[in-house]
């Protein structure tokens, strides 16, 4: 009990810390007080500018010099590593009671070295909470410091940031920024002190004001563009954002000024996206006549708005063969019937030669309206876009459901896309049967208009292949 001789019963000690984040100083003093067996209720810890507790404020004269001196043979103070780690963080908290709390737990640790393991203990929990909020503050500092570039007089770039931490973390976190930006010249200014790195030496400075930091940086415009573009308006979750990026940080984040307008515009942007892709929900027509009527009114894609008429399919409802073309041409549009123009006539010729009865087949187009551009007085055919095919496919599916053909012959790549939902290469797919979902057999060949655009040997060659494709279809029809 040598230590007790130093401590007069009933005396109270006040320890004035030189800085609010000076954990090393606290550790030094706390160690001495423990060795002198000073109980927690006899010590006050006072931050610079702080008043400490009521008792210490009454007796300002009881200062540092009256701290007891531990005897030379006092046993060393031992704590668990867990306590030391947590205490280092918790000491940076702004709670004025933190040093008292740490000393109380330190005192208890001398009696029960495993106190820290009891997570249900209120004081242990409190230390963990303090440490957690300091860690969170540090993490937010790593995340939300925003440097702005300024040119120094010697022409070298200097990156300066203004940040407002909740706790006394600035000095403790300097290392993070040094390791990350080791070869940059930078300063972080805060109301709790500032730090400066010139590439070799770290300097500490006094607390700063927001006006001390530079006002802008041209790169921030790019950053804001990025922030606005990476945001997906179709999945608005404002509360999730606020929990991780509370409003108190917004004033120092260049991107945050966009948030209100992004939120306000989000619903409108999503609605527009859905509307652009949307089609009226409607029941699938039950007969070919209904389809013929309904397609005339269809405005699902822009082709229908060109003042042309919809051309319905033609042929018996129980046809075993369905022939699908691309879209009506100039003459088909005028007459309102499929396959009557030059390409249609050529098709007729080849069908006859292959021994296929056109009147027994159902002929239709994947796109029901004529798409064209004006060239002088002529309407010049234009291929439908993939999206237009995919949209118009709905009608083709309805026709297939009614006619239920055993064999479908797709003429050209557009028709093949309409049947399969994907773009295929005609040259690769021709000559073989593709099994469709409903059990029908799909065969793909070129569109007869392709033959019209060729001449010479190329045309002979393609005509031969086309005829062979049709013959194959005839054989399959017979086989069924």
């Amino acid at each position: 009990m040598t230590a007790m001789q130093n401590v007069s019963l009933g005396s109270h000690y006040a320890v004035h810390l030189p800085a609010p984040d000076d954990f090393a100083f606290w550790r030094e003093r706390a160690r001495g007080l423990i060795q002198c067996d000073v109980p927690p209720d006899r010590v006050s810890w006072i931050e610079p500018g702080g008043t400490g507790d009521l008792f210490a404020a009454e007796c300002p004269s009881r200062g540092e010099k009256r701290l007891p001196v531990p005897p030379a043979d006092a046993p060393p103070v031992r704590v668990s590593r867990r306590f030391l780690t947590l205490a280092r963080s918790a000491a940076l908290h702004t709670d004025p009671a933190r040093f008292g709390l740490l000393y109380r737990v330190l005192w208890r640790l001398q009696r029960n070295p495993r106190t820290m393991e009891d997570k249900a203990d209120p004081e242990v929990r409190r230390i963990e909470e303090l440490a957690k909020s300091v860690r969170r503050d540090a993490h937010k500092m790593h995340a939300f410091v925003r440097f702005r570039e300024v040119q120094e007089e010697d022409g070298t770039p200097h990156f300066v940031a203004w940040f407002e931490p909740d706790h006394h973390i600035v000095r403790a976190e300097a290392g993070f920024f040094m390791r990350r930006f080791a070869n940059m010249r930078w300063s972080i200014l805060t109301p709790r002190g500032s730090i400066h790195w010139d590439g070799e030496v770290m300097r500490e400075g006094p607390s700063a004001k927001a006006e001390d930091a530079p006002g802008g940086d041209p790169v921030e415009d790019l950053w804001r563009s990025y922030y606005a573009s990476i945001f997906n308006p179709a999945r608005l979750k404002v509360s999730a954002m606020l929990s991780e990026m509370p409003k108190k940080y917004w004033k120092n984040l260049p991107e945050a000024e966009l948030i209100p307008q992004l939120i306000a515009g989000a619903q409108a942007r999503e609605a527009a996206m859905v509307k652009a892709g949307a089609r009226e929900e409607r029941a699938r027509p039950g007969s070919l006549a209904e389809i013929a009527q309904a397609i005339a009114a269809c405005r699902d894609c822009p082709i229908a708005d060109c003042g042309t008429r919809a051309v319905a399919g033609e042929g018996p409802q129980q046809a075993a063969l369905m022939i699908v073309g691309e879209q009506p041409g100039d003459q088909e549009d005028l007459a309102g019937r499929p396959f009557i123009g030059p390409a249609g006539q050529l098709l007729d010729e080849y069908l006859t030669r292959a021994g296929i009865d056109r009147s027994a087949a159902y002929l239709t187009n994947v796109v029901k309206h004529f798409k064209f551009t004006w060239k002088g007085k002529h309407r010049l055919h234009q291929s439908p876009a993939a999206k237009e095919i995919d949209t118009c496919r709905w009608w083709l599916d309805a026709e297939r459901a009614i006619v239920k053909p055993r064999i479908v012959l797709a003429l050209g790549a557009s028709a093949a896309r309409g049947m399969l939902g994907r773009t295929v290469s005609v040259t690769r797919e021709r000559g073989r049967a593709i099994r469709l979902d409903d059990g029908a057999e799909l065969r793909v060949t070129v569109h007869p208009s392709y033959l019209l655009r060729l001449d010479g040997t190329a045309r002979e060659e393609q005509a031969r292949l086309f005829a062979a494709d049709l013959t194959a279809v005839r054989e399959r029809l017979k086989a069924g």
Partner: protein, 412 residues
């Protein structure tokens, strides 16, 4: 056509990249810029530098090198047949953007992906070139995540792994039939083949590092993948099954789930109804159950409802507990860690705290309340020395008691 400015390109190519969910910057090798020439550090923990109003974190500069693409995948905004504005960055432009953002502490690094131009090999070469310039010419030591293209040459993918912290290949859809229907140019076995090769490289590089201190690292943050939820008709049970198979087969760090969201100029093949965002959240929760709570995939699937989907109103762990009530209540003073982890409302941290605390005292309900976020959720499933939920666990309306209250909507 008018020349696009850098800012216009950034807007187009960031917009095109936002459907990739991954933004992780964690779990890579520790490195910093001390003693180097450039900037950058990774210290294990990922940092989210900003949050967008969609609740997603912004950790990396997530952009495409180009949104031109020769593929025609229906769910993708950049598919060949889509009518979006196209743009292209040069590798040097991406490098400059990355460094400018990094120096101002906006980002942790770069997540680079690309539409496929010319060929898979050519595109992959360009991606690797960006990473090479960053690492070799600028000594950049931040985080790089490269999306790799399964169709590309294995040698180029290998180089990607040498520069990047993480590589990823998207499996895109949970079922092979969905992939065939919606991504006709992709091939499931090719994707899994590439993932298998990447895994082998990662394992090999780890082994070499053990033997030789200077052996090159290969994707130290591992590989991840992404699945789109709700674009095809796969249910949650199928998705969970697929994810667990991927985790086991390829040692993935993460499987990301991305609820299919409406895209501009959508393909007519896609469903117009988007899945509820909550479904994505429930899938992530079930993912966590498998990775950190010792649930087998089949057990998570058991928590699903008759249609194979997880309930949306309560979390999957709660759903499991309500279905298998015979496993409860659990005595917090005696139960094994595995049993405690199954209690709804007890996370891994709370379980750790309970295990530590009960060495020192017999726990009362108040003690447990201090260790957890919400005692109300936990109470029906545990016993303490002063608490036993005699009738509560057996109540038929327990689900209604525990599910979050439905809020009456305001008139608008």
């Amino acid at each position: 056509m008018v020349q696009q400015t850098l800012r216009q390109k950034l807007e187009i190519l960031a917009d095109a990249a936002k459907y990739d969910a991954s933004c992780a910057s964690s779990g890579t090798a520790k490195k910093n810029s001390l003693g180097g020439k450039g900037v950058g550090s990774t210290e294990g923990m990922g940092i989210c530098h900003a949050y967008a109003p969609d609740g997603r974190c912004i950790s990396l500069l997530k952009i495409l090198l180009t949104n031109h693409c020769i593929f025609d995948c229906h769910y993708c905004i950049n598919r060949k047949s889509s009518n979006v504005v196209r743009a292209r960055f040069t590798p040097q432009e991406v490098v400059d953007l990355t460094l400018n953002f990094y120096r101002r502490n906006y980002i942790e690094g770069l997540f680079l992906s690309s539409g496929i131009v010319k060929s898979a090999d050519h595109t992959m070469e360009q991606l690797v070139e960006v990473a090479r310039i960053l690492r070799e010419e600028h000594d950049f030591r931040g985080y790089i995540h490269l999306k790799t293209i399964p169709e590309a040459d294995a040698e180029i993918i290998h180089r990607a792994g040498l520069y990047a912290d993480r590589v990823s290949i998207n499996v895109e859809l949970p079922t092979d039939s969905g992939l065939t229907r919606l991504a006709p140019d992709k091939n499931a076995s090719q994707i899994e083949g590439a993932m298998g090769r990447t895994k082998a490289r990662i394992v090999q590089a780890k082994d070499e590092r053990k033997r030789f201190r200077h052996a090159p690292r290969f994707a130290p943050a591992g590989q991840s993948t992404q699945m789109i939820v709700g674009a095809d008709d796969a249910n949650d049970a199928a998705i969970i099954g697929k994810a667990s198979r991927l985790y086991n087969a390829f040692g993935l760090r993460r499987v990301y789930y991305s609820a299919f969201s409406p895209i501009p100029d959508a393909s007519a093949v896609l469903p117009l109804k988007r899945p509820p965002l909550l479904r994505e959240h429930r899938l992530y929760q079930s993912d966590w159950l498998m990775r950190f709570y010792g649930f087998a995939p089949q057990e998570v699937a058991d928590a699903a409802e008759a249609d194979g989907n997880l309930p949306l109103d309560i979390d999957p762990k709660m759903a499991w507990a309500l279905k298998f009530r015979e496993s409860f209540p659990v005595d917090v003073n005696r139960a094994a860690k595995e049993q405690l982890l199954r209690v709804p409302g007890l996370g891994t941290q709370a379980v750790g705290r309970i295990l530590a605390a009960r060495r020192h005292r017999r726990l009362r309900l108040d003690d447990v309340a201090r260790l957890t976020a919400s005692i109300a959720k936990v109470r029906p499933f545990i016993c303490t020395i002063d608490w036993r939920p005699t009738l509560l666990t057996d109540r038929a309306d327990l689900r209604r008691l525990l599910a979050p209250k439905q809020e009456q909507l305001e008139l608008f």
